[in-house]
């Protein structure tokens, strides 16, 4: 293939870190959640890239599982966000500090 | 390489052109058929039998003043109609209209009468049609109007719900054909000697109900229920953008009909007449039923619609898949 593995990995790394930056810098919990999804997509990309270059499909099976689990996670996560919003009228994570020790 | 590009481009242009023409004339067909049902004449003035009516309509919409309400989210408001129409057109890429052709000897090698044949054709159509929701939901939201928002939410909830049953309803077909490629599915029906509608009658019924709901057609046209929501998600749209939503709906209808034809009615197969003609005949037959339903059935209530989708169709589709699988395992 014309494009090598490192290219995919670097792209995945960049996307992953953009996700990380989103999680760290944003205060809107929905954006943070989206950034997490972005990170997961980046990881999926590395999985598929490795799988393709190693000529073994197992990595893609993992991506399949990640897809399913991500869907489940989003459903529950958004339900939690909705529940929090109903109680506290906010999506700002700095306001969600009830677990303070 | 270049030849491949040229051929593909050529096929795309031909299919796109035919599709747009069909979309335009579907409006005429629908008006005529409905007027027949209601014992009136329908469009007669523009051209013979009103045949030029769609063109007149198009010109009217094209030249109408393009209103953009002041409180809308401009970017998304402008983007939404395109987002709605594009998936409807893209989905057509994998539908086979006929067997191979050499175009009356013009081509050096036989050419498949489909834009492309991919391994996951059926899934591709579902993936693309699942993107159709964006146009509607964003149009509803961007319009900044409560009728539009409710219409958009209704439409997307309805589409997501029925997409599930639709996907499950064709599992039987896929299992019988042993492939997700539409070309292979048509081929499998040829080898079996009988259309899949016969062994998969239940699957077809479920598929058809879901197709009605997916395309927001009566009796599932709640997102556009005039009596409650004025016109639904596109209430704030006018002129060409409104036309695009309209075109998207008809294009979706045609896609659904073509898919039904390919999956259940043997695709382009048929005796005597050329394959393309058979294909068009079957598609229009299905479309006629679409219109027939609209003329006949009253609208569902929203909770009934959801209950019907989740509590009737989904279990039935699961049952259908289960029985098919059991029979296939039993036979082999």
């Amino acid at each position: 293939m014309a494009v090598g593995l490192p290219a995919y990995l670097v792209l995945a790394a960049i996307l992953f870190v953009i996700g990380v930056a989103g999680v760290v810098t944003r205060r809107n919990i929905l954006i943070i959640f989206m950034s997490v999804e972005l990170m997961m997509n980046a990881v999926n990309l590395t999985f598929v890239a490795f799988s393709s270059f190693l000529r073994a499909l197992d990595g893609q099976v993992f991506v399949f599982f990640i897809l399913v689990v991500a869907a489940a996670e989003v459903v529950v996560g958004l339900a939690i966000i909705y529940a929090i919003f109903r109680h506290r009228e906010t999506v700002d994570v700095t306001d969600m500090n009830l677990m303070k020790g | 390489m270049l030849g491949f590009l040229v051929l593909s481009l050529g096929k795309i242009v031909v299919v796109f052109g035919c599709l747009m023409l069909t979309v335009a004339y579907m409006t005429w067909v629908e008006r005529k058929v409905i007027s027949d049902f209601q014992v009136r004449l329908g469009p007669t003035r523009v051209g013979p039998f009103g045949l030029l009516q769609p063109i007149a309509d198009g010109i009217k919409l094209f030249f109408k003043e393009d209103l953009i309400p002041s409180q809308v989210d401009r970017t998304i408001y402008l983007l939404a109609p395109a987002l709605s129409l594009a998936p409807a057109l893209i989905a057509f890429a994998v539908i086979p209209f006929g067997d191979t052709t050499t175009l009356f000897g013009l081509l050096p090698a036989p050419l498949g009468m489909h834009i492309t044949d991919i391994n996951v054709g059926v899934l591709y159509i579902f993936a693309i049609s699942s993107l159709g929701v964006y146009g509607i939901v964003l149009a509803g939201w961007a319009s900044n109007s409560k009728y539009a928002l409710l219409g958009g939410l209704r439409a997307s909830a309805q589409m997501i719900s029925y997409e599930l049953s639709m996907g499950l309803s064709i599992v039987g077909v896929v299992m019988m054909a042993g492939s997700l490629s539409l070309v292979d599915i048509v081929k499998a029906q040829g080898e079996l000697g009988v259309w899949f509608i016969v062994p998969q009658a239940l699957g077809f019924c479920i598929f058809f109900c879901c197709a009605l709901a997916e395309t927001n057609r009566a009796p599932f046209d709640l997102p556009e229920a005039e009596t409650e929501l004025v016109a639904g998600f596109h209430v704030e749209y006018s002129s060409m953008k409104f036309a695009m939503f309209f075109m998207a709906e008809y294009a979706n209808m045609i896609t659904a009909a073509a898919l039904a034809t390919t999956l259940f009615l043997g695709g382009w197969r048929g005796p005597v007449l050329p394959p393309v003609v058979w294909f068009l005949l079957k598609v229009f037959a299905v479309l006629y039923v679409f219109i027939w339903f609209r003329a006949t059935l009253p609208r569902f209530r929203y909770d009934q619609l959801m209950a019907f989708g989740w509590k009737r169709l989904l279990p039935l589709a699961l049952l259908n898949a289960l029985v098919t699988a059991a029979v296939i395992v039993g036979v082999s």
């Binding site: 990380v20 999680v23 760290v24 205060r27 919990i29 943070i32 994570v93 700095t94 969600m96 500090n97 009830l98 677990m99 303070k100 020790g101 | -």
Partner: protein, 634 residues
């Protein structure tokens, strides 16, 4: 048929389950009916088992039924197994027969109690455990039944748990039994260690080869088993719980504390005869303890004024006779006495219960008298039971007791025979002291209670009559001629022809005559002193031997001695441990650890800001650091 033997304990167990889970939801009559039906069906199956055994040739009357494996660990292999042989057949007949009659009696006696279903549930559970005990084919299943009956005894003694004395008596019975059970358990460990098995078949089969006669192991095993037996069967020195157990309802006293459970010790010793025969010294100890208990309890019975306590001490005394029989090697006779005693002692208790019922709960014999007119059936059956207990020809007690005494005599244990005979004199005396005081003598019945005095209803009277027939009949039908009657021919093979000292017919008749004379003398003395209820002799004798009398009335101060010697030191030691060890060291340690953790937690809690961005940031620092480490380490 033998495959179905598990149904014998199975029916009462089923009854228990039904009553425990559904008893409160069913009508009262139904609860009683369920319990009686369970006991009755068990009786039917027990009779069936007997019929099955009788059809077999005499030397093949031994069936083992293994139902399912229970414990398999290392070389310990215990299964749910039942053993049906003449000995267990006799036992299940006694248990189901007497048990069924007492169930029926209870329907009337407990008729007004609000916890009616609970009572019958316990009673059925007791039946199931007792039957499992006697049917077990190994020591562990037997022990399970043994503990099960102990539990039921505790539950039933404390049945009226709102009453302080009843719940105390229940606890006392339970704790005293623990002492005996510890001995039993140690013996079981030693048996398993020695024989590698707990199955009767393999243990008894190897007893002769693996054990030295009179050797240390044999003595320890036999001693342990006997300690267990003294606890359960209320022998010296562990008898103290039984008199207090009379706090329970009277049918319970009749069933558990007279007819069945307390005889479990005797059964166990008889069942383990192969082991006891290997330890002659312990066997002698069994005989001595039995004889001493017989006299000891009889002396106390002579001065007690509570109708049930008199009968209770009489039970202890009679159990002593049974152990005496075991001790001199007359196991069959001991079990025979067990059977006859079950009938007449149950009858005595039920009769006493009938009197108490009639008098509205009065138990003091000094407030009775002249009841024979008002309670004719009770009086008649009670008289028969008294005669049987005193050992008058031809009633049940005579045959079995005489066999035991004859065996002691024949074994040249003349002192033991003499003690037994002295006990017989006392037995006759206290039984008729009781009878005359209650049914004749002077009428001391409370004026208010007198109006309500009535004969018991048929549901209580019929069991009395049935038991009376048994008390009269079983002795002569099964026990004549002595040592060679139907019973002996049936049971003797179970003991492998253990050496019973043969004595001549002349000697037998002579001993019987002596015993009869002794019994008649006791009765005569009681008649003279108590018939009219006005004879001055009793009080004069009490005055004369004031010290002895006080000792007897206070039951030799045994309870007080135990309190001072055992209970008080334990209590004081426990208090000291509680203050010095538990509070200071254990609690102190726990508190110190708690303080320590709390301190640390308070410190670490500062890091728990509750703010998600902070967490994520620290997470990121970690990720960068770890990745950096890997890069540098490469």
């Amino acid at each position: 048929m033998p495959d179905l033997i598990w149904l014998v304990p199975g029916f009462p167990l089923l009854g228990f389950l039904v009553l425990v889970f559904g008893g409160r939801r069913m009508p009262r009559r139904a609860a009683g009916a369920v319990a009686c039906a369970a006991a009755g069906l068990a009786l039917v199956y027990a009779l069936g088992a007997l019929a099955f055994l009788l059809r077999q040739p005499a030397d093949a009357r031994r069936v083992t039924v293994a139902l399912a494996p229970w414990i398999r660990a290392g070389n310990l292999d215990v299964s749910w197994g039942f053993l049906l042989d003449p000995l267990s057949a006799v036992m299940i007949l006694v248990v189901t027969g007497v048990g069924f009659l007492i169930h029926v009696y209870s329907v009337g006696y407990m008729g007004d109690d609000r916890d009616y279903p609970r009572f019958f549930a316990y009673l059925n559970l007791f039946m199931a455990c007792m039957l499992m005990l006697v049917l077990a084919d190994n020591y562990l299943v037997m022990f399970l039944g043994w503990e099960g009956v102990g539990l039921c005894s505790y539950l039933l003694i404390g049945f009226w748990y709102e009453k302080q004395s009843a719940s105390d008596a229940g606890k006392k019975a339970f704790i005293v039994n623990r002492v005996g059970d510890a001995g039993f358990l140690l013996a079981l460990f030693l048996i398993f260690h020695t024989f590698g098995s707990l199955d009767f078949d393999s243990v008894f089969g190897q007893a002769v080869t693996r054990l030295d006669p009179g050797g240390l192991v044999a003595v320890l095993i036999a001693l342990g088993l006997f300690v267990g037996a003294t606890g359960k069967s209320a022998q010296l020195p562990l008898y103290v719980w039984l008199p207090d157990a009379m706090e329970g309802p009277t049918p319970v006293s009749a069933l558990i504390h007279a007819a069945t459970m307390v005889t479990a010790g005797v059964y166990m010793v008889a069942r383990s005869s192969a082991l006891f025969d290997m330890a002659p010294g312990v066997l002698l100890l069994v005989a001595v303890v039995g004889a001493l208990t017989a006299v000891f309890a009889a002396t106390i019975a002579c001065v007690q004024n509570d109708i049930k306590r008199v009968v209770a001490y009489s039970t202890i005394s009679q159990l002593g006779y049974m152990f005496l029989g075991c001790g001199v090697g007359a196991y069959a006779s001991a079990v025979f006495h067990l059977g006859t005693h079950a009938f007449f002692k149950a009858l005595l208790f039920l009769g006493a219960g009938s009197v108490i019922h009639a008098l509205g709960g009065e138990q003091d014999i000094r407030k009775m008298g002249q009841l024979r007119k008002k309670l004719p059936i009770t009086r008649a059956t009670f008289l028969l039971a008294s005669l049987a207990n005193a050992g008058i020809v031809p009633l049940a007690g005579f045959w079995s007791k005489d066999e035991i005494l004859a065996a002691a005599f024949g074994g040249h244990h003349y002192l033991l025979w003499a003690l037994g005979s002295a006990g017989a004199l006392l037995t006759a005396f206290y039984m008729f002291r009781l009878y005359y005081t209650v049914f004749e003598g002077k009428d001391h019945v409370d004026r208010h209670a007198a109006h309500h005095v009535h004969e018991s209803p048929p549901v209580m009277a019929y069991p009395l009559i049935a038991l009376a027939v048994g008390a009269c009949g079983v002795g002569i039908i099964f026990g004549f001629p002595p040592d060679h009657g139907l019973y002996h021919r049936f049971v003797a093979p179970a003991f492998g022809g253990a050496a019973v000292h043969e004595i001549g017919t002349g000697t037998t008749v002579g001993l019987a005559l002596v015993a009869t004379i002794i019994a008649l003398a006791g009765i005569a003395l009681a008649r003279a002193w108590y018939r009219t209820g006005a004879h001055p002799a009793p009080s004069r004798v009490a005055e004369r031997y004031r010290g002895l009398y006080t000792t007897l009335v206070n039951k030799y101060w045994v309870d007080e001695a135990y309190d001072a010697a055992v209970v008080e030191p334990i209590r004081r030691g426990s208090v000291r441990l509680w203050k010095a060890f538990d509070e200071a060291i254990v609690d102190g340690m726990v508190n110190r650890v708690g303080d320590w953790v709390q301190g640390w937690a308070a410190g670490l809690g500062r890091f728990q800001t509750g703010s998600v961005p902070t967490y994520v940031l620290s997470f990121l620092v970690g990720a960068v650091a770890v990745l950096g480490y890997f890069l540098l380490a490469r």
